[in-house]
Amino acid sequence: MTALTLTLRDKPRHRIDLSAVRPDRLPASRPEDLASLTLNYGNRRVKLGELFDITGQDPDKLVIRNSCSLLDAIGAGMETGNVCIHGNSGDYLGRGMRGGTIEVHGNSGHWTASGMQNGLIHVRGNCGDFAGAALPGDHQGMRGGTLLVTGNAGDRCGDHMRRGRILIEGGTGDYCGARMVAGTIAVLGKVGNAPGYAMRRGTLLFEQQPVSIPATLNDCGEHTLGFLRLLLDSFADLNSRFSRLDRNRLRVRRYAGDLACDGKGELLVWLD
């Protein structure tokens, strides 16, 4: 079967909630059967077929073409399958995702991978604020899986993150890993102000010294940490700069905290 392909006809005037279009929930049927699926479009409900041209049959390989930043919640809650997005995606990409893969050949909006539990999201462009963060009212952000961003991430990346890994090849904005509970965030580019603010546990691993570090993350000195070898080895299967890092780069400066909240997290900056 060929991949189920949704091609957005025109740029929509309102935001479209695509959370109903999940690879693991769509039946393998004729395109015309899928056309009747209803979506939230602004304050209206419209048929999928009114907005998208539908071709192919295999919902396990869902392709969205001509995508734009108004297509929200793509892959939200999905448990299996593959989604490939050509163009930008909107907010809430892969929210609560439990498995499978999402690949975005463009940028993604805010709250990417929020509440994600498993699987892989690869954003080949940039992603907005609150990547892997907890939604207002949620206790935890990302809870597992991998968010890989080839470009930059915005502010509050990994806010309230509980588990999993966020790997940013570019830089991040301010408050990266703020209020983090556990998990790993690695950034190869520039990092803004106050990373690790109010973090409890978890690891922030940076290629460069951040613009500023909260006063309550205390410098513990330079160390060789053996677990970094295991961490770097775990990147080997990613299609990313992370897979090409020198696996013997174990020398870091370690900052621990946030002591303002009795935190035992760590901010590590590679030394060589």
Binding site: H223, G226, F227, R229, L230
Partner: protein, 298 residues
Amino acid sequence: MIINGVSIDDTFAEAFGMKVTRVVVTAVNHRWARHAAEAMTGFATSVIGCGVEAGIEAELPAAETPDGRPGISVLLFGMSGKDLGKQLESRVGQCVLTAPGSAVFAGMRGDKSINLGRNIRFFGDGFQASKLIGERRYWRVPVMDGEFLCEESTGYTSAVGGGNFLVLAASQIQALNACEAAIDAMRKLPNVIMPFPGGVVRSGSKIGSKYSALPASTNQAFCPTLRGMTDTQLTADVEAVLEIVIDGVSDRDVRAAMRAGIEAACALGVQQGVRRISAGNYGGKLGQFHFHLREILA
């Protein structure tokens, strides 16, 4: 059956079902990995008195260990998963955690698992940190030379313990020479350990004793000094008997090790004083595995 003038008895070794786990101990170099591994496999010759039988399986190059450092692979055999877990925790806690620069990882995946670092982490007194990498959880315990890195658990599986053969020789030194050759050959094989000192045991035992408190006692039928006063198994030209006990991950591994060891001992030949090869058994009623010498060497 005679090999190079050495007579192979028509008998069998009787072995038992056990549980096995493997851990990989790494350190800054092989010297320190071996220090830790030797300490954790000390006093582990027999489950009867030591709770576990353990030994070094192999020296691993850096490329074959989880953290890319030189390592030692250790096998531990116990009568149950519970016994194994208890012994593993105490031995890692006392012998590996304490060794400079060491780390320890699971060396075996199995349907069932036992604790490796799950409780040892509490040595960190709240400063320990967990890292979930892939499906595996690791613990980082702060210690005075940095961090002790250990995997949370390791798998275990069914195994075979108590494979054995006896080397009967014209003198003690000739028996020892033959056993050294056998051990050198057997240590090249994976999945087996020879848990006694240097791989060799001189106090072969029988079940029971005239003293009710003892579960095992000397096997007088193979004691050369008792040749004239017991129902001996020794001929007049045999002055010393040494035994090699083998624990293996599978019966195939034990069989391969027995073959390699016996062939190496027989290679010295009758000219070097090796007279016979025999094996220890309990009449075949206790152990579920029987390793017939002549079948193994056929």
